[in-house]
């Protein structure tokens, strides 16, 4: 799976920013697990397509739907563009690491 697009979609009321990340395949539960490593993750597997929301200690929130090719991240207003670029790079590294087992597309 590859990250194919990063798109700013909204400036929120509190000054935070909402960015969408699009992949060339559906997000897997394994990928979600890696993103959530060490963080709180609310996961709702009972929905027709499961929803997740990750709350990282650095204030970043990530949410998406398993099987959907995109996810959204909410960056606190204190995050700079450089911080956001670092997060995109983190995503690419995660996707390029074979042993994470996250490259299997959702069937």
């Amino acid at each position: 799976m590859k990250l194919i697009d990063v798109r700013k979609i909204e400036d929120c009321f509190d000054g935070s920013a909402r960015i969408e990340y699009r992949f060339d395949g559906g997000i897997t539960q394994s990928f979600m697990g890696h993103l959530a490593s060490g963080s709180r993750c609310d996961f709702f597997p009972e929905f027709p397509m499961p929803f997740f929301k990750i709350f990282r200690e650095d204030g970043l929130q990530i949410k998406g739907i398993i099987g959907s090719p995109d996810m959204e991240a909410y960056f606190p207003r204190s995050w700079t563009d450089e911080n956001k670029n670092e997060f995109a790079a983190e995503l690419r590294r995660l996707l390029e690491t074979p042993e994470t087992g996250i490259n299997e597309l959702v069937k």
């Binding site: 909204e10 009321f13 509190d14 609310d42 709702f44 009972e46 929905f47 027709p48 397509m49 499961p50 929803f51 929301k53 949410k63 998406g64 739907i65 959907s68 959204e72």
Partner: protein
């Protein structure tokens, strides 16, 4: 994945008028017509659109109807074209950013004093405060949305505008949420200027809209350029609507809007049936445990609510991606109204129906909501 249910008609309608796509495509693929420039064999699409839209808004003179790209352009043409320098403009907390941002810009440039009247808990402007501000400030212009795009509450426009006229001001109505839904007569409502958009309840294509300008009101052109007539002049021609329509028009889109308007004339819908479905939806939401923003009296088929334990944006994502229910969440580009509605900071989830919304659509949306609310956090 269940079938898609589209409940975001207050943003843009779907589906559009049957045959609209074919009409737009046919107009793009034929030899173009442009009055005053290259006639060609085709009929004049702007003329047909202008006549129908003008009639819909209660005007007998199509020349007073400026064709635009939508309500945002219409509102900007009006607000930047009126001689408001040093004057007070009155508006409300119910307005969309298409009204608020041009007004903020005029205020920032120190051209106007801006007075925004707060709303009640249903999203209507507070009548006594409106009256007080009209009497005290004697605004040169009052700008009002016909109906809130967040709560659906319809304003008593004729009464509110009558007070402005009594104090000597002009009036501008934003009918983005009502044109195609409610009967609109600019004269009866007391609207000196009236902005509308084609892509919502008029069932036309995005990129179309109009601005009605009452006879006797002159707007300075905001955009200037070629018109195909009086090319010898250094300024825009004085004739309406040419004066306010520079550049090559989006003929195929206006042909599409004319098509949609004609289809609506031939296929009137039942507002009461749509209201019945809105009632079913509202009851179902309340039974499921949603906090519904209650609206008494006249309203559009829009319903806003919040859910316990769920952020509006999260619920919207789940409804769309997991249950196939397309809706809108957040502030809906109307940031000020949420203080009155008690829906800050996350805004609301908004379902907006159209004439095409079915009972099955309502049932599927309510099933999804129940599933969401019965899920434990």
């Amino acid at each position: 994945m269940p079938p898609l249910v589209y409940l975001n008609n207050a943003a843009t309608s779907f589906p559009k008028a049957p045959g609209l796509g074919e009409e737009v495509r046919a107009r793009i693929e034929e030899v173009p017509y442009h009055a005053g420039r290259s006639g060609g064999p085709a009929k004049d699409p702007q003329r047909s659109c202008r006549e129908r839209l003008s009639g819909l808004l209660g005007s007998s003179d199509p020349a007073r109807l400026v064709l635009t790209s939508g309500a945002t352009e219409s509102l900007n043409i009006a607000l930047h074209g009126l001689p408001l320098e040093g004057q007070t403009v009155l508006s409300t907390a119910a307005e969309h950013n298409s009204v608020l941002r041009p007004l903020y810009l005029l205020r920032k440039k120190k051209k106007i004093d801006l007075c925004l009247v707060p709303c009640d808990t249903q999203g209507r402007v507070r009548r006594e405060e409106w009256r007080r501000q009209v009497r005290e400030k004697r605004p040169a212009l009052a700008v009002l949305t016909h109906a809130s795009n967040v709560s659906g509450a319809v304003h008593p426009v004729a009464e509110l505008f009558a007070e402005v006229h009594e104090s000597g001001g002009l009036t501008l109505l934003d009918s983005s949420q009502t044109a195609g839904l409610l009967p609109i007569d600019a004269n009866r409502l007391g609207a000196d200027l009236l902005a509308c958009t084609g892509h919502k309840y008029l069932l036309g294509p995005p990129g179309t809209g109009g601005l009605y300008v009452r006879p006797g009101i002159e707007l300075a052109p905001v955009f200037v350029g070629g018109t195909g007539v009086r090319s010898d002049l250094q300024e825009m021609p004085s004739e309406m609507p040419t004066r306010l329509e520079p550049g090559t028009p989006a003929s195929a889109l206006f042909a599409g809007l004319a098509w949609s308007l004609e289809w609506q004339e031939q296929n009137p819908f039942s507002f009461s049936a749509m209201n019945d479905r809105l009632g079913q939806l509202e009851s179902g939401l309340q039974e499921a445990g949603a906090r519904v923003i209650r609206v008494d009296g006249e309203r559009t088929p829009v319903i806003s609510f919040t859910l316990p334990r769920w952020e509006a944006a999260d619920a919207g994502m789940i409804l769309e991606r997991s249950f196939g229910v397309i809706c809108r969440t957040g502030l809906h580009c109307a940031p000020l109204i949420h203080e009155s509605l008690g829906s800050l900071p996350g805004g609301t989830i908004r379902f907006s129906l159209s004439r095409f919304t079915s009972d099955d659509d309502i049932a599927q949306a309510l099933d999804a909501l129940r599933c969401l609310l019965h899920e434990t956090h």
